[in-house]
């Protein structure tokens, strides 16, 4: 366990370092963009631009700029070029909204993904299975922005069933919180419900041919117990794996589109704003934040795996 933690921590640092360097470099090769000129505003004299350049350190070498940037990001007093606000502060403010969106969507996609996958597998080849297959493929194929726009049009603007936009804090009004998030949750979850139900269905059909399932039947277990305790239980292990990866990626930036469309002031919303403004400090900080979640959930997946499958041991290099 200790060896596992050390190794994971090491690779985490390496990944975050690589991501930050890449982001920084990409930003610095964007042609014809000078942050000092942007900050000085249109029509500013060259002297003002020069003084800003010196004040912010844009005239130093790239490695020095990178180190200065990283030091600020990690110590929490990085200031954005546009608006001159504390970036880490804004990210922290955005986290509750982003997590609300992601966790709620995750609950929905796991519940329905597993439910539909299970029903499909148990009734494989039947009418229910075929209907669910069509729904799943449709769900996987629908782009988020289209689904979100259609839901907004028909469930919000035209009928007023759900509020169109914005985010209400859970602590302020839980009912309104959920009410505002239902459409975004669905927008995020639909594709993943389709995907997960297909993956689970195929895992379960494979598991049904396993020897231990035959043994379970030979013991005289009820069909339901055979399906849940043996087929489903073993088929969920790979589902948990992809869930960890998908959830990490979602928190780390996968919900950007949804946050933008539904005006949820989360981390993704801030990311869009910063990219539009070519504002390096928040882009750096948000990218690191996203990468951190991806790497973190990767590690959590491995830990969960060892719990779910006794054949897997943490710290063994066999995997």
């Amino acid at each position: 366990m200790a060896a596992f933690a050390v190794r994971r921590l090491g690779s985490m640092v390496a990944v975050l370092f690589a991501v930050s360097v890449l982001t920084f470099l990409v930003f610095n090769v964007i042609p014809a963009y000078d942050p000092a000129e942007e900050m000085a505003g249109k029509g500013a004299g060259p002297q003002l631009v020069q003084s800003i350049r010196e004040e912010w350190g844009f005239d130093e070498s790239l490695p020095q700029q990178y180190l200065a940037m990283m030091e600020k990001v990690l110590s929490g007093d990085v200031i954005s070029y546009q608006g001159q606000e504390n970036v880490d502060q804004r990210i922290l403010e955005g986290i509750p909204a982003t997590l609300s969106l992601c966790v709620g969507a995750a609950v929905i996609w796991m519940f329905f993904g597993i439910l539909f996958g299970y029903l499909s597998a148990v009734r494989a080849g039947g009418l229910l299975d075929k209907s669910l297959t069509i729904l799943a493929v449709a769900g996987i194929s629908v782009p988020v922005f289209w689904l979100a726009a259609v839901m907004l049009e028909y469930l919000s603007y035209k009928t007023g069933i759900f509020p169109a936009k914005g985010y209400v804090k859970l602590t302020e009004d839980p009912v309104e919180w959920a009410n505002h998030l239902i459409l975004p949750w669905i927008a995020v979850a639909v594709t993943l419900v389709g995907l997960y139900s297909r993956v689970l269905r195929s895992n379960m059909l494979d598991a049904m041919d396993e020897g231990y399932v035959r043994t379970a039947r030979a013991k005289g277990l009820s069909e339901r117990r055979v399906m849940t305790r043996h087929v489903l239980r073993n088929s969920l292990i790979p589902i948990v794996t992809i869930f960890g990866l998908d959830f990490g990626a979602l928190v780390g930036g996968g919900a950007i589109l949804t946050e933008k469309i539904f005006s949820i002031q989360g981390v993704g919303f801030y990311a869009v704003e910063s990219i539009e403004n070519l504002d390096l400090p928040p882009i750096m900080a948000i990218t690191l934040f996203g990468a951190f979640f991806v790497v973190l959930f990767n590690a959590l997946v491995d830990i969960a795996y060892a719990f779910l499958d006794p054949r897997v041991e943490l710290g063994s290099s066999a995997r």
């Binding site: 035959r214 030979a218 005289g220 277990l221 043996h230 073993n234």
Partner: protein
């Protein structure tokens, strides 16, 4: 139903609809299993031996399967019985052990939990603690050392032999009348094989447990069986007591199987003997005797399927499907290379 049989299978037929057409995996198999008897069903892969056994307990689940015939366990008809009726039989009255104990045990549950599950599926009133205690006892009875600790092991933490012992313990958890062991030793080392067979024999004697032993290995048959059923391409081609099959095999296919045994009591052959050709596709069986294309003794009458009849004088229970007359066969066997064992003095 013949007198005293515990399990009586009559004219069992199992057909499957495959993409390449219908095939008959089991074609009119009949046998009786007496209490306390070990009946070996011998045959190559695809001979229908496993399908026969699995169909009896309703584990042939392919949606395209067509099952006919009868299998009576005491007063209970198993063919066509509902799933809930069969559930009362499986585990409770017929225990099963399968070939590969690694894949036959669920890798994510402890061995003990899997035995407890079998007990409590049939005896819901038995508490978890009591079921656990019984499971320890069962592991002990199949010769697993330190059962109190092994019960908490996961399948992958046990050796192949230990896993198979645990499987047997699980199959015996509810003290069934019949044990079906489907290639129970195939995946094991030879020494472990012998231990497992000895265990099955011991349980068979101690509990009066009737056993169906499915195998392709005549060595296993010789060690454990009382009676033998030889299957080929879905049909029984010969049936008799262990001695009848070994000392006076009637069907050329049985000779072939016996001739393929490596023997330490004979000079070493230059090549391992084998049966020429390969088993026929069940989709395209030859007319008449299915063994005809591979049989060196086939003659024109073999185009007609011989019935499974007693052909050797004075042995009503020794039946076979071969048109050759027993005397000719005895001569042929001598010429061909001493197939069958010498009768004991």
């Amino acid at each position: 139903m013949s007198g005293g049989a515990l399990l009586s299978v009559r004219d069992l037929r199992v057909g499957f609809a495959t993409e390449d057409g219908p095939l008959q995996a089991v074609d009119g198999v009949s046998f009786d299993l007496a209490p306390g008897e070990v009946l070996a069903i011998v045959g190559e892969s695809g001979s229908g031996k496993s399908v026969t056994a699995q169909t009896v307990v309703g584990l042939t689940r392919s949606p395209g399967a067509r099952i006919e015939g009868s299998a009576r366990l005491g007063e209970t008809e198993l063919i066509g019985a509902s799933d809930s009726e069969l559930r009362l039989v499986r585990g409770e009255r017929i225990g099963m052990v399968f070939q590969d104990p690694m894949t036959s045990l669920n890798p994510v549950y402890r061995v003990g939990a899997q035995i407890v599950e079998a007990i409590r599926a049939h005896r819901p009133r038995i508490g978890k603690g009591e079921a656990h205690r019984q499971a320890v006892e069962l592991l002990d009875s199949v010769g697993i050392p330190d059962p109190g600790r092994r019960i908490d092991a996961y399948p992958h933490e046990l050796s192949g032999g230990m896993r198979q012992r645990a499987m047997i313990a699980m199959a015996l958890a509810l003290d069934p009348e019949v044990l079906i062991a489907d290639e129970p030793t195939t995946a094991l080392d030879v020494t472990v094989q012998a231990q497992i067979l000895a265990l099955i024999e011991r349980l068979n004697r101690a509990r009066g447990l009737a056993t169906i032993l499915i195998t392709h290995d005549f060595g296993v048959v010789a060690e454990a069986a009382d009676r033998v059923l030889v299957m080929y391409a879905g049909r029984v081609v010969e049936e008799g007591t262990l001695d009848e099959i070994f000392y006076d095999p009637q069907h050329p296919y049985t000779w072939g199987l016996l001739g393929s045994l490596t023997r330490i009591d004979r000079p070493r052959p230059r090549r391992l003997p084998q049966i020429g050709g390969s088993p026929p596709s069940l989709l395209d069986l030859p007319q008449g005797c299915s063994f005809r294309p591979r049989c060196p003794h086939a003659f024109d009458r073999c185009a007609e399927l011989p019935a499974l009849d007693a052909r050797v004088p004075e042995t009503a229970e020794h039946r076979d499907r071969c048109w050759l007359d027993p005397e000719t066969k005895r001569e042929q066997r001598q010429v061909e290379g001493e197939i069958g064992l010498e009768a004991p003095a």
